[in-house]
Symmetry: none
Subunit: 399 residues, 2 copies
Amino acid sequence: MHDELKKLVVKNDTKIVLLVMDGLGGLPIEHGGPTELEAANTPNLDWLASEGMVGLHVPIAPGITPGSGPAHLALFSYDPLKYEVGRGVLEAVGIGFPIGPDDVAARGNFCTVDENGLIVDRRAGRIPTEVCARLTEKLSSIQLPGVETFVMPVKEHRFALVLRGKGLRPEISDTDPQRVGAAPLPAKPLVPEAEETAKLVNMWIEEAKKLLKDEHPANMLTLRGFSADPKLPQLQDIYGIKAAAIATYPMYRGVAKLVGMELLDAGKTWEDEVSALERSWNDYDFFFIHMKYTDSRGEDGNFAAKVRVIEEVDASIPRILKLEPDVLIVTGDHSTPAKLKSHSWHPVPVLFWGATVRPDDVNTFGERACAHGGLGIVPATTLLPWAMAHAQRFEKFGA
Amino acid sequence: MHDELKKLVVKNDTKIVLLVMDGLGGLPIEHGGPTELEAANTPNLDWLASEGMVGLHVPIAPGITPGSGPAHLALFSYDPLKYEVGRGVLEAVGIGFPIGPDDVAARGNFCTVDENGLIVDRRAGRIPTEVCARLTEKLSSIQLPGVETFVMPVKEHRFALVLRGKGLRPEISDTDPQRVGAAPLPAKPLVPEAEETAKLVNMWIEEAKKLLKDEHPANMLTLRGFSADPKLPQLQDIYGIKAAAIATYPMYRGVAKLVGMELLDAGKTWEDEVSALERSWNDYDFFFIHMKYTDSRGEDGNFAAKVRVIEEVDASIPRILKLEPDVLIVTGDHSTPAKLKSHSWHPVPVLFWGATVRPDDVNTFGERACAHGGLGIVPATTLLPWAMAHAQRFEKFGA
């Protein structure tokens, strides 16, 4: 659809806010009980729902539980089944590394191995980020024939590795065995053309092993998510919007960057994020603002804490409305029911608010209510086109 | 889907009526208020809704505001993103001109230019149709080398121009500068293969200019929407139905003709249209009956007048039911909210009524109510297949 929509774009000075509570969708703990969103006291979100239109979105496809990367791509209107973005690229882009056409990126984890080389801690006791930085500095000295390498700290035990050189291929298997008691695996080519790249990766791992052997607890590493620049169409080219991302976590910043958003200084707290929105209000047409902790508390299985995060976001809505957005969308990227302690496949509540939004007769924001909304139950990829329409940024199709 | 449906078609003597109120969908003027359809007093439509099933349709795709041509194609089950029909062809076909394989058609507007050739009135004061007819008669004398020309009056300042000849190409730019104070533009080829056609068009314009120079106010013309026969699959071939169109406006007659409908004498008023339906009841399986003024009053921004047009249609429902249609569909081609004074992207209310239609629990016909209907929120292209099914005109798929 991007090609069709592109032809219809008109520019104006409307502002669109896409507020994403990660993992927003939930489940009742007990039959007859409320979901997290239904349990939360959300007078502001309910008011938005009563003025606007609600619905549910299906992030990827029926029955599919999304990872955060594909779920956000879908929210940004990119079909994640068509556009695959590797974890390595997300990690690198998320810390501001400009992935280029000759790059292959991997996500790295420092780990702890015993004297037999078997993994005893897959996260090396979550070493402080400063230690991670010292170690990646050390690993940056490794030289590979004909290939440039970049090793960058991300957070705690996580780092990003980028190889840059002509003809490199991303079809390389993960070296993380995904369990303790096993040794890190060698990198294997997944297609014959990737054999040379796999060889280079294994050379790099050998050198890294030597450099790390006297470190503790981070005396080894694993690599996964080898991937190359997905060359996504840019939001400004499709929709003619100048878009900004306000997110504190690297992954979300990474996806936002890949679709052409500028990354704003988001601070650390939700308050900081809303302040960033206020500060940058005049500089962009479109704002993606991301709350991580709905997902984190869902993953923890902490229903009550997830409810509190939703209430924190609700309390900030008046500050956002004071900016007078033309269109405000509130949703999640996927569901993370505390009951399941994990991402899930359940459709995600969404609300649209704005002067041209046709109201439905739903007056609360919750999973059950959203099933009756004027939006219906729609693919996540349709949300941005609807938002653009509500901001009157498309002209008529045909005569 | 047409190819699949075609294999399932069975013939019977059921009758289907597709009643289209152009631009039916609306918006509340003020928050909390009704839409035009919700405000209208529609006892008959509400009764149909209570007996039948309602829903909303999305004419083209999420967020897209349809022109009338593509919106009607979609109602007739043709994906408008796949089948593009130019304005010129619609105009010519709409006045009953049989577009052939060697034809390129354009929509023409008589306009007024000043002594410097700059447009002062893009519609030449909307000259009476009789004047238009005299002028097109005059222009019919223009001779082009190797090409036949047809110049036909449409309505007021509007006319249709058709060039007929081997190798003509429709990829020609509009000559209408779309504003006053500018001169009409020359026709330009949009692909190299269209150079010869553009040259012929410009020769024709030069001759027309000479013939018009002493006329007033229609002393010049502009051309747009150059297009060729889109060669649409015909309704009778897909669905095995003999279909008739009852519409007073050329454009709608044009689209109907292109999909294989016969054009009935629709008269001038809605009363006339319903009379045409009654008169032709025994001669066709499928009737498309079109009310234009819901859209016109929406475009005017006249909420109350749009409400009255809806009420006029409602009042005619008993006459239609007296004919005992097997399936009656009432909908719009798109939304034209008086609040926006223009076509819009909002989904369109639709109702199905008939003996095999499964009732839902909605008892009124309005945007909010339709969001809860048994049909759901569906693409416009699905309506005709549902209607055919309710008329029991498809056999089982598979054993």
